[in-house]
Symmetry: C2
Subunit: 227 residues, 2 copies
């Protein structure tokens, strides 16, 4: 079993894995879990040990079925009414053409929406709704804005964009899981992203699979070129 | 000096204070710092010891000068094009009529925007821009979406809404500071919000001022009724 296959097995067991994108991109390692298995404990580990923004990444097909756009497209449309939104347009992201940010949500049964219980509930219920194909219930079950940030993966996943959003959704797809992952950037105490060495040590200490973007992309493209 | 006055002095020194809203509202304690004094270390303490969503709350007058609306109003306008946004309308927030969420931003000189250095830089530069009255530079200096969530305080602050957004901006106003605060909910390890007793113990342990919403609201209303 190679490293990607080990990561797929770990995701299937609801374990956290660590994914480093690349030196040429963010140079960040994200904690990753398959959203259908999310628990309050995952949220607690992510906020304490990773410390970035806990986001939930969705396959573009799911976003299309739910009808959720990129946030940048929402802001662009709304700039007809709120002029400043056009001035804030992100045309200068240093390592990317388009941010994968979409809307933020809370499940309508949560209270404030921010606690570990609430965030896990919101994410798990989203994965459930998608798994059961109840796309039309999205508005009934969720409200926006909220405390869980959704990320929309690019069409064609890693064929077109090699962000943590695409790489982790590709892994979930390869694992035949609901292609929705929950991810969080690992922060260093020096004010920067946690270094590759530190995140590797964290993986070893906690017996977690650690893999690089390159491994995922090669594995994914190999598989799809063969099929 | 009463507790609110002590809190004002602490904010002026760039210290973190803790604010509990009320048993009838969120029942949450937020870490609070005056944004003009924000440092990467504040961000690190907030993400590690508080664990909620690090947000920056702005006085409504500032939001009006910058032109930034509530996110719910952006989504409502954009629902003309993206239908699902209407279905997601938050008409059932258990303890509130309207969420204070506005847009998210990164400073254009940040890299990913999520590190302690980047988030502190984004927040500090926003407070600087406002302090210097350079409202027209907002679009030049910042992009949206980003990793720092802005909160828009209600007109009249605590006279009209008693959220952490309004209470902390009211404190900054009382302190004659730039009325922009950075706040983060304190999470418990049991999956709920950190309890009042635990946050009080945290305040004692770290020698921080701890105050309740009621104290702020009474002090603020007294002052404005007298003036």
């Amino acid at each position: 079993m190679n490293n990607v296959e080990k990561a797929i097995e770990a995701l299937k067991k609801g374990e956290i894995i660590l994914v480093y994108d690349s030196d040429e991109r963010e140079g960040e390692t994200d904690m990753v879990v398959a959203s259908q298995f999310i628990t309050p404990e995952h949220i607690r580990i992510m906020r304490k040990d990773a410390g970035g923004l806990i986001c939930t990444a969705l396959h573009p097909d799911i976003c299309n079925k739910l009808g959720i756009p990129f946030m940048v497209d929402i802001l662009e449309f709304a700039s007809q009414k709120f002029k400043v939104l056009r001035e804030l347009y992100p045309n200068d992201i240093p390592y990317d053409e388009k941010s994968s940010f979409s809307i933020t949500i809370n499940h309508r049964k949560t209270f404030t929406g921010i606690t570990d219980n609430d965030r896990a509930f919101t994410i798990k219920k989203l994965a459930e709704l998608v798994k059961e194909g109840r796309f039309n219930d999205f508005g009934k079950e969720f409200r926006s804005p909220g405390h869980v940030t959704l990320l929309r993966a690019a069409e064609g996943l890693v064929k077109n964009r090699q962000g943590h959003t695409e790489m982790t959704v590709a892994l979930a797809e390869l694992a035949n899981l609901v292609p929705i992952t929950t991810i969080c950037e690992m922060m260093g105490d020096d004010g920067n992203a946690m270094s590759k060495n530190e995140t590797k040590r964290y993986a070893e200490k906690h017996n977690l699979i650690y893999l690089s973007g390159e491994e995922i992309i090669n594995y994914y493209l190999d598989k799809y070129l063969k099929d």
